[in-house]
Assembly symmetry: C2
Homo-oligomer: 416 residues x 2
Amino acid sequence: MALIVQKYGGTSVGDIERIKNVAQRAIRAKEAGNDVIVVVSAMAGETDKLINLAHELTPLPNVRELDVLISTGEQISVALVSMAIKSMGHEVKSYLGHQIPIQTDSAYGKARITHVKSDTILKDVKVGKIVVVAGFQGIDDKGNITTLGRGGSDTTAVAMAVALKADVCEIFTDVDGIYTTDPNVCEKARKLGKISYDEMLEMASLGAKVLQIRAVEFAKKYHVPIHVRASFNDNFGTLVCQEDEEMENVVVSGVTCDKNEAKITITKVPDKPGVAHRLFGAIANANIMVDMIIQNVSDEGLTDITFTVIKTDLSKATNIVGKMAREIGAKDINTDENIAKVSIVGTGMRSHSGVASAMFGALAKEGINIMMISTSEIKISCIIESKYTELAVRALHDAFQLDKKVFTKDDPISTP
Amino acid sequence: MALIVQKYGGTSVGDIERIKNVAQRAIRAKEAGNDVIVVVSAMAGETDKLINLAHELTPLPNVRELDVLISTGEQISVALVSMAIKSMGHEVKSYLGHQIPIQTDSAYGKARITHVKSDTILKDVKVGKIVVVAGFQGIDDKGNITTLGRGGSDTTAVAMAVALKADVCEIFTDVDGIYTTDPNVCEKARKLGKISYDEMLEMASLGAKVLQIRAVEFAKKYHVPIHVRASFNDNFGTLVCQEDEEMENVVVSGVTCDKNEAKITITKVPDKPGVAHRLFGAIANANIMVDMIIQNVSDEGLTDITFTVIKTDLSKATNIVGKMAREIGAKDINTDENIAKVSIVGTGMRSHSGVASAMFGALAKEGINIMMISTSEIKISCIIESKYTELAVRALHDAFQLDKKVFTKDDPISTP
């Protein structure tokens, strides 16, 4: 008998019929002899509807009240899922964030969980109840309602799994697992049976939006296995878990792409200590996330700095950079929105050389120019012209033979 | 400087524009130098929408989860009203039932308030904040969410007024006060400037659905004046308050009617001790509310018992009574749905004779037969054929000259 946390996203509870399916699925897991905790998101579209309502009222809704507003979405879902389970004859109890409580800091709209109390829920579980928990929401130490940000229900599910010492956290979604790349872009994409936390983190942050990054970080920290699987069938999906020996042999697990970034270049920046600090300090103060930063060696005391931001932050960033450019005596700034980031991710890269050159070669073979390069221990990202995105993904998927099977250290890298 | 509780109903917060009006109105009261606590209902139609969703899922939704579900309506309203106030430049803070807390018993769907904590809200009020409170919802001593039943936001408002020692509780609604009778039935209906708690209770329970009965009871118990007024203009409405000398002189304050009842007659009931107890005990056990009960003196040890119930309870009540009739050896049962109750209400009746006969006379003059009569200290109700309802209301309104001014002890009763 295992303790299972099941998380169902917005589409899985999108209408009354789907809610009944979720109830049946939870009951099935319960009747198979498990203890079951269900975490649910708001019904698909509900959160956006509420946010639009707030924006009809005012362009900048108060952040505390916005959390009071949007947390109702999950409250509606827990009530309906619980009613469905109850109407099917099973004992059940719903919990909102403040009833558990799921304690968070006070960062409205992007709160972080600090503590989850487990004893009340465990008591209900022990007497045979299915427990249904509202995802996405928590409460700060003053009793204010907080929300965890987009995809926050994943984090709720993992946090519950940690607090309750669950055997597995199942994330039910509208895809049946994690793929080597986006099947819409590359039809040879193959579902992975297993992926390490670190790879999943790179995949997630690079644009494969199946799991919230924070949920994966949390799972990694507390060694909770996450099983990403389809809510519409019973197939095994993808297990996100600790690295094992088999994984270490895999050089490249997946290819991802991200078209949401834009790049800004400041030309002829005086190469003096403190310049980068001032520039990126000003950007950080405006709450703009910077992804890649490239500064090459300087030429005659002048250098070019290029960095990428999320497209929606581009105009704000350009304003700040324009002002800074004058202050620090740089020559000019250029921006480019027609870019994409393609990346390869794999744990085995750590101990395997030649991966980067194989990647560059595969892109070159298709005539794709690389504008920027950034690497981490287990991923390599290239900024390219956005029109080549799909071509690049397919080329890399082929080059590392991701369609065939996992690519291991012993495989020859098939690049020109 | 006064402390004012303002309650806005569902139509007053029915859309974004109306929510802005509520915000402006609250700010206006604040800027006039008052401390302001706003209590809001769910946006019009929202609660019904949620209840329908639950019924789509199951005919008998679990009552605990139904309260979790429908309490989201008020949560949405407080968030939006607070955002609106904030966006207009005023400090504001929203409170949900569990954040205050508004402590209730555990009777889901019809919980009663047991205690309201006031210190946190008073602290906010003292530093100049407008406080926005979710109506209709509370929390029991185990932290479960409860709701107070239809119109429960009125009770929340009065309870807040009591806890905060408010000077007045303003109930903003879509009518501009309490009328001598329904203006849709009798065009001569006149708005009352003042009405006593007791009269209001009789009016409310008799079908003038402006205020929740429990709210009036609460206000009476703690001497909180309620000002019922229009949300669409600044006119003075009707003050519901303690009886004063002026009121005591008023014989009849209003005429009400109610078409929601049906009557059941059991004929030739053996007139033995305990029969009525068994009969009405069985009905009460089925949670059916009985309004009027008439049992006349018996004839040869047999008597007829007639009583009225809400129409929607008629078939359930008939089943129970049918079974009981056989058990107690009664002859037959008859039911009639085509009835209406017309009533006159007035504090002055207590010390004034001739009111009942004037009422019967006014009805007789129009050829309206009276089927049942019931009286309390300050009201007289007659059950008549429902087709005569409007005629009866107008006849009584005329007979007691309610269009002209308040009818006092010194006025002649103008009946035949």
